[in-house]
Symmetry: C2
């Protein structure tokens, strides 16, 4: 085979590899690991079963590559959280509340994405059979989101707008205040997506609850735009 | 057949019914709906496959009876929550914080029970295939827990120790503050059970965060045991 022929063969092989991965992802998300057969994967990918086995030794290898691939691309969550926090520090509690509201909103959008929820269901379903994969996913997705939140909150601890003995737990509290109600409901009832209005209410309520729990009104920056409530009214 | 013979036949049938349900529960929790066969159920229950089909038309009927059975017995959650709140109202914020800490602790114990978590994984896994069952479970277990919390918090709104525009959402916030971090981690990593010390820390932190977010220091009852913090320091 000449050089051009080799390139073209490699290109076709890569194309088949991608087609098999795409087909398997669709089937695993729809029917789970045990409910999916290599025959179905071959059929949906429009390749022979022999070709599937040339690319993946067995169904487990295919499953692992898919989950690892999605886990590796969890950067999307990190990006939307850090972007929503912004490059410039908020200098008042009101400003910070507005930022946290925005963070909670985009965080909700990302984790309630239909395919993210389906993947979450799939990995939870297989957590006992593939403990290493489920652990990696947990560490790279939910736990990493909380870590990023913690890093984004740290400057607000430094300037005195946020106070927490355990900032990691405070960040987790913010995450579950924001995501808990809607994410839990949609894990069981995939069709019960919050309306845009509900999504905004959930985000606003979580930002408010978090700042009431962990915010301070003392800041190294002027807090003119904040109305200080009477003692204990929070 | 005489009367005693009929009774004994009925007893044997009921015993087989229970044995089939117990075997199927074990298998579904271990291998999921699709990963379990009626042959395996018969084998583990030590009955013939014919007997299994005499009791349950198909695997779906068996699955439904198990999930409905567990869903119906979610009273345990309600009992532990209401018992932890106690019969007599706490009259100070400090007392209420101690109650909420106890509530959060027993709530964690119930939802992190290994079999409850396995069932949660199983139902989440099958949420797209059995939407009606998953919805019923959600309504009867997580959502009902939040409703009970809300009912238990209402008297504290009435006496002015708790203030919330939306008490249902405030109750959900308490639930996810308390349960979110550990429940989410254990859904993915079944072996990462909080130590008794971590469990107490999670419970205490959630009670404190909730009361900072939704508690007031004004109460119709004397609040002598509470140190009122300076304005806005929460």
């Amino acid at each position: 085979m000449d050089k051009a022929g080799k390139r073209s063969a490699a290109g076709r092989a890569a194309q088949k590899h991608r087609a098999i991965l795409a087909a398997a992802t669709t089937l695993f998300l729809r029917s789970g690991f045990k409910g999916t057969s290599m025959d179905e994967v071959a059929s949906l990918a429009e390749v022979s079963k022999q070709t599937v086995y040339k690319h993946f030794a067995d169904k487990e290898a295919l499953f692992r590559e898919i989950v690892e691939g999605v886990t590796g691309s969890s950067d999307a969550v990190i990006e939307v959280i850090t972007a929503a926090f912004g490059d410039v520090l908020a200098t008042t509690s009101d400003e910070l509340e507005a930022r946290l509201c925005k963070v909670a909103g985009v965080y909700l959008d990302v984790v309630l994405h239909a395919q993210v929820l389906s993947l979450r269901r799939l990995i939870i379903a297989e957590a006992e059979q593939f403990p290493d994969l489920a652990r990696r996913y947990y560490e790279q997705a939910p736990a990493r989101g909380i870590e990023v939140l913690m890093n984004c909150l740290q400057p607000y601890v430094d300037v005195g707008l946020v106070a927490a003995d355990d900032l990691r737990l405070a960040a987790a509290h913010f995450a579950y205040l924001a995501l808990g109600p809607a994410q839990d409901r949609m894990l069981f009832i995939p069709t019960e997506r919050p309306t845009p209005q509900e999504r905004n209410q959930l985000a606003a309520a979580s930002a408010r609850a978090f700042l009431n729990a962990y915010g301070t009104t003392t800041s190294t920056a002027p807090t003119t735009s904040r109305t200080v409530p009477p003692a204990g009214s929070q």
